[in-house]
């Protein structure tokens, strides 16, 4: 009951504090919207294909396949390398590469081509796929021309239809597309799908700075002492001080995702899963804030540390730059951050349509982070600071 009064009091103060509102709502909305617009082309639906070289492995089995491979390798702008099927598929599944192409001679002496696409990069992946198809048809046209020329030279009397049939040129090799990785679906990944969850996660953790601000405010203006000389139990004070930030976290997610949904066409499948991931993320974030507050001596220190860690961890966790673009050691490092797990969980839901059961392990990890944060925070928290005066 008293916790609720403290909750309400802090909420009131927060509502009157424009700085906090800007930090927690306006900034992430601005970043996610602007970056989504600015980098729309780089992500899904883009057409510049990227200026850096794209790495696509080719697997060729059989003589004809090898010939086809040589032709494909002439397509520029792509670093075509030979690989084994298993290795290539694994890389696609891990999100390390856009896709891979496998060529195989079948018993009828034709080449069967399969393109393995990365579901998280479907749009870019399909650009590559398109190039491969173009290469095939160009190759086919060349063969056709050569064959027709030969036919015409040997049998000048034939009419056009006969030339075609005599030349005996088959259809262009059709490339079959296969999307690799679990939960493959047709959701087109977009910059919105990177930046809306990215800045949501990043700024949900920025709550840490606000928590520190509000706890130190209470201590600095002396009202903490007044609370402590009242019959209010310390757990109620703690609860009342943390509660508003849970609510703020949920509202942040709601506001930022809704903006993505209504203005940027961000699809939100599986609302239940999103809610659960949000609950776990906010829990971890509030714990993170409590820990930083408890380990700091002053508000300035806490805010500095909170800001530094919030944005460093968010960067490492893949909130700003997609994880698949990072080298593998960075991807491993991301697993050491709660932001990394939250990001993976949100993107699994948004891109791959994962359900509650699929993201449950990720939620578990987030809550684990939270548990550690709360333990450290509660053990080290000082209601009155002895030693400092």
């Amino acid at each position: 009951m008293r916790a609720l009064r403290i909750f309400w009091k802090d909420t009131l103060i927060m509502l009157r504090d424009r700085g906090t509102i800007i930090n927690l709502f306006v900034l992430p909305l601005m970043f996610s919207s602007v970056l989504t617009l600015a980098l729309g082309g780089v992500f899904g639906g883009g057409n510049d294909g990227g200026s850096s070289t794209i790495h696509i492995p080719i697997i060729a089995n059989g003589e004809k396949s090898r010939m086809v491979m040589e032709t494909i390798k002439q397509v520029e702008g792509v670093d075509w390398s030979e690989s084994t099927l298993a290795e290539a598929k694994q890389k696609v599944e891990d999100g390390e590469i856009l896709g891979a192409i496998s060529l195989e001679d079948n018993p009828e002496g034709q080449v069967e081509a399969v393109y393995y696409a990365n579901p998280a990069q479907l749009a870019n992946s399909r650009l590559v796929y398109g190039q491969i198809q173009a290469a095939f048809s160009a190759m086919n046209d060349e063969q056709k021309n050569a064959a027709m020329t030969a036919t015409i030279q040997s049998q000048p009397d034939l009419n056009l239809d006969d030339i075609y049939s005599q030349a005996g040129v088959g259809e262009a090799i059709g490339v079959q597309e296969e999307v690799v990785g679990g939960g493959a679906n047709d959701v087109e990944p977009s910059s919105a799908q990177q930046y809306f969850p990215g800045f949501t996660v990043s700024f949900v953790f920025f709550i840490a700075a606000t928590i520190a601000q509000y706890v130190f405010m209470e201590k600095d203006i002396g009202t903490m002492k007044r609370l402590l000389t009242s019959p209010t139990k310390s757990y109620a004070i703690m609860l009342g001080k943390l509660l508003p930030h849970f609510v703020v976290g949920f509202i942040q997610v709601l506001v930022i995702f809704s903006t993505g949904f209504f203005l940027f066409g961000l699809r939100l499948p599986n609302f239940g899963s999103i809610l659960l991931v949000t609950a776990a993320t906010v829990t971890a974030a509030v714990g993170f804030g409590l820990m930083i507050t408890s380990l700091s001596k002053t508000q300035a220190q806490a805010s500095g540390v909170a800001t530094l860690f919030t944005f460093t961890l968010a960067t490492v966790g893949g909130c700003y730059v997609p994880l698949f673009m990072m080298p593998s050691f960075m991807q491993t490092l991301a697993k050491a951050t709660p932001q990394g797990w939250a990001m993976t969980a949100y993107q699994d839901i948004l891109l791959k349509g994962y359900g509650i059961l699929d993201v449950l392990p990720l939620i578990g990890v987030l809550l684990g982070f939270g548990l550690v944060f709360y333990l450290i925070g509660l053990i080290r928290f000082q209601f009155v600071s002895e030693g400092a005066h």
Binding site: R5, R16, T229, P231, V384
Partner: protein, 338 residues
């Protein structure tokens, strides 16, 4: 002496407080109280009884340990040694029942600047378990007592004047009708008018039966308000008596001489250590030479010699009656406000 205090002294409408008879029950009992921070000892064994209905003053220079004592009494800090009993019950951090009976006005303002007076009071009242209509009525009453009724809903507390903030700070302590009210320098930075208002409020509360403990740097405040005064220095209560008794036992004559800045500089150069058997102090900022001696004649002689030795043209010279200030100077060797 600050102008504020001067104004106050000129307001000779005050009633001299009286010490209470010994037979009243003790509201607060401190026994062998000690507190250490790290290895540093701040409270060095305090024994004190404050009786029901008393207006008790705690005087001490900066760092004497007044706030620390109050923090222990109010359950904010645990003592390193000794005990605190209030209304016969042992005080501790977790004694909620006892906390309901007392209120503390902290030395630092402790109100939310972002909230209005009313919102502040409703919140703090709520922390004492008040609610609904009663809470609202209490808040109005508290605002009335400190004369802030017309500021209930605007502006926000942060925009109030210094004196108004202090008054709100006191009002917040009155929400739950405490039986013991402890005030730690509640009038810092308050204009004389607000100060008088606060004094009247406190005197009325005391007349209505509330026990008050009051700490201050201003001797005159304590002299005016408190029946009994404890003088604290280095974490000990070195003297504890009704004001008249203190004046009888330790009162000294004071002569104040105002001189030119150049003269002050000359004296300081020649006599860096001004004090001798007759206590003589030079306040460099105000160019005031203060001479304190057990007898007025001694003090006058000393001042006279100073004028002769240095050929000073005094700006002004005044003789002050014995006061708590001189008592304090004699007991601690310090002026309260340095």
């Amino acid at each position: 002496m600050s102008t504020a205090v001067h104004d106050l002294m000129d307001n000779e409408t005050r009633i001299k407080p009286e010490a209470l008879p010994e037979d009243r029950p003790a509201v607060l009992q401190l026994r062998g109280l000690r507190k250490k921070f790290g290895g540093h000892s701040v409270i060095n064994g305090i024994d004190l009884d404050v009786r029901e209905g008393e207006f008790f003053g705690l005087l001490g220079p900066n760092g004497a340990g007044k706030t620390t004592t109050i923090s222990i009494v109010s359950g904010l800090l645990e003592p390193s040694e000794g005990s605190v009993d209030i209304f016969g019950d042992k005080m501790s951090r977790h004694n909620s029942k006892l906390k309901k009976k007392i209120a503390v006005v902290q030395q630092d303002l402790s109100i939310y600047p972002q909230l209005t007076c009313m919102e502040n009071l409703l919140f703090f009242g709520g922390m004492y378990g008040l609610g609904g209509r009663k809470l609202k009525a209490k808040a109005m009453e508290a605002l009335e007592i400190v004369g802030l009724s017309d500021r209930a809903n605007k502006p926000r507390a942060g925009k109030l004047s210094g004196g108004q903030k202090r008054r709100l700070n006191i009002a917040a302590a009155l929400m739950h009708d405490p039986k013991l009210l402890i005030l730690d320098e509640p009038t810092v930075g308050v204009d004389p008018q607000s100060r008088n208002y606060i004094f009247e409020t406190l005197q009325k509360l005391n007349r209505d039966g509330m026990t008050l403990i009051y700490t201050s740097h201003y001797m005159e405040e304590v002299e005016q308000l408190c029946g009994r005064v404890g003088i604290m220095d280095h974490g000990e209560i070195i003297e504890c008596n009704p004001v008249p008794t203190l004046l009888d036992q330790h009162g000294q004559a004071v002569v104040r001489l105002k001189i030119q800045a150049a003269d002050a500089a000359r004296i300081l150069e020649a006599e860096p250590e001004l004090s001798d058997s007759v206590s003589l102090a030079l306040d460099t900022e105000a160019n005031l030479v203060t001479c304190v001696a057990p007898k007025l004649v001694q003090a006058l002689n000393r001042i006279n010699r100073l004028i002769g030795d240095y050929r000073i043209e005094p700006v002004n010279c005044e003789v002050l009656p014995p006061s708590l200030e001189t008592v304090f100077l004699k007991l601690t060797g310090k002026s309260l406000r340095d």
